[in-house]
Symmetry: C2
Subunit: 164 residues, 2 copies
Amino acid sequence: MRWSEIGDMTCSIARALSVVGDRWTLLILRDAFLRTRRFEQFQASLKITRHRLADRLQKLVDNGILERLPYQDNPPRFEYKLTAKGVDLYPVIAALVGWGDRWMAGKDGVPIELVHRGCGHTIAPEFVCPDCREPIGARDMLAQPGPGLLAQRKKRRSAVKRKT
Amino acid sequence: MRWSEIGDMTCSIARALSVVGDRWTLLILRDAFLRTRRFEQFQASLKITRHRLADRLQKLVDNGILERLPYQDNPPRFEYKLTAKGVDLYPVIAALVGWGDRWMAGKDGVPIELVHRGCGHTIAPEFVCPDCREPIGARDMLAQPGPGLLAQRKKRRSAVKRKT
DNA sequence: ATACTAAGTTCTAATTTGGAACTGATGTAT
DNA sequence: ATACATCAGTTCCAAATTAGAACTTAGTAT
């Protein structure tokens, strides 16, 4: 199985993970959020092999998460910047940081604190319902078929009909 | 390099990803959140090889994210349930769903909608600062060294001192 | 002329994964 | 009683992915 397509890909998580779901990619993005931009910087920070790094950066560019922009011409050199689609992955990173802080922190406490520029508080952000503003936990949400799944089911039904 | 330890592990993301950061694990957890519990159910749903599944489940149990509980004695059979630590990964899953919905949905629309049980609205949850309740984006947060990192730096400094 | 930098590429060896068959304890149908 | 099915895994080999290290290319600095 090629990892560009996981399982049935009906699920948004599967689709997201097909782009972002390997071990290095999220670490590369973490560095990107901390304003790392250049090949050598990523490599030095992550100790990823150069090969792998080139590969992952390429994939992120292909998927519109990073942009490869020239920053000088002679010799041609490029840097990688988060696109809007990339910046929008921030909640994923933040959620991972939060969980890591809560459950995997060493005895010395959390390694990095997040400070909200607006109010100056150093707290992990939390998920809320944008409508009623209540914090959201796993069992507060109900998953139900959306338009995409319904459309797909419809297609499948008519495909079966054609066969019989 | 063994993947139980990524890079320098100073970072909460690296620590989180060392447990949760491979392609199958988050899909297994997605299923767990949708109340899948048994080996055969996971296998049928994910089409992961049995070998890999056994491996990943074991690792999740080792890390306290799933619990392996007997549900019958003759023959002995077990099911896997999310622990508190596992349930607390919900924001990560939710963030992935949100991003997948926003950027990777097919033309038919999102496959699954999330309904907030409290208010009945079908919207993707958003991140807010728990203090001022403002929505949080990538550039609204400032990362600064926390107690864990400071403690570690202190240790390193004294180690250097001993050497010289 | 030599060394150095940035951003890759190429090569081989080691590790991880996929695919498919097999196990073992039990329950059910013929 | 024999055959077949279920569940929760193991075992084995081939295929894909990754690590590690050296090499490339184009320009700059000493």
